[in-house]
């Protein structure tokens, strides 16, 4: 499984993502600097966490309009599995690849801790190794993770199984405690929690590992 990690100025979880991908898939990912948008064909694209472009204007707003994202949007629309973590999720909503928006946490605090969440849909290429309703512990670290969409969109997301993960308690004001969603086709996942930081006991747990094995088992 050949992966690419897109690196923007201000990304800071790109190396964590690279380590997780190499350890789990056995293949070093391609690190794609945002200006090198003509990158080789890959099976999977990851948009890492961080503070790309210093969160100027809105989180993810600048990255979403960058040259490399034009290429990512094209490939994601062609069906290439694409994962956005934290700032990557914000970028995906800013491009319109995923519905809704991520707003400032309702209590205004930067929340940085391990949180419990449930796997809401195991019928996606990112979650099939989890058990339905499984509760997992994954760290979050964000100031703008308060997921917002209008009620019709939320109903549709829940009705169509596009809500992949929900927090078990309200940590940031997110509508319906949504932690991660997929697009209708199911090849794009955006989530605020960081599964790449929970892939082995030395990191405090391995609950994030199954996300990557799900993907690998589907793609291989």
């Amino acid at each position: 499984m050949k992966s690419a990690v897109i690196v923007f100025p201000g990304s800071n979880c790109d190396r964590d993502m690279a380590v997780a991908l190499e350890k789990i898939t056995g293949t070093k990912p391609l690190m794609v600097w945002h200006q090198d948008y003509d990158f080789e064909t890959v099976d999977f694209i990851a948009l890492p966490g961080g503070f790309s472009y210093g969160d100027y204007l809105r989180c993810g707003a600048m990255s979403a309009r960058s040259h490399v994202m034009k290429e990512v949007i094209k490939r994601a629309n062609d069906g290439v599995p694409t994962l956005g973590i934290c700032n990557g999720f914000q970028i995906l909503t800013e491009t319109g690849l995923l519905p809704g928006a991520l707003m400032r946490n309702a209590n205004l605090h930067f929340v940085c801790k391990d949180v419990a969440m449930t796997v809401e849909n195991t019928d996606t290429l990112f979650t099939k190794d989890y058990a339905g309703g499984e509760e997992i512990i994954i760290p979050v670290a964000h100031h703008d993770g308060n997921y917002f969409a209008d009620d019709d969109t939320l109903d549709r997301l829940e009705g169509e199984g596009q809500v992949a993960f929900k927090y078990t308690s309200d940590i940031n004001g997110a509508q319906r405690q949504i932690a991660g969603i997929t697009n209708a086709r199911g090849n794009i996942l955006g989530m605020m929690p960081h599964p790449e930081r929970m892939i082995e006991p030395a990191l405090g747990g391995s609950d994030g590992r199954k996300l990557f094995t799900s993907l690998m088992n589907t793609l291989n």
């Binding site: 400032r104 309702a106 308060n146």
Partner: protein, 79 residues
Amino acid sequence: MKARIHVTLKNGVLDPQGKAIEHALGNMGFDGVNEARQGKFIELELAETDREKAETAVDEMCRKLLANTVIENYSIELE
């Protein structure tokens, strides 16, 4: 030509920063502030001299970058 753009959160979208400002004003003794909403102000210096063309262009800039229309409204003033 100058364009002045106000970007504000839509009605019904919770504005936690506005709420914090409202509470702070209350705590400071400024009574009678029923609500505070926080937004952004963006000023552009445009080369365009035709008002209609400028308005069309700035509107497109707002829709494509300056505002996130999922959660925000915008208004444009030209001068």
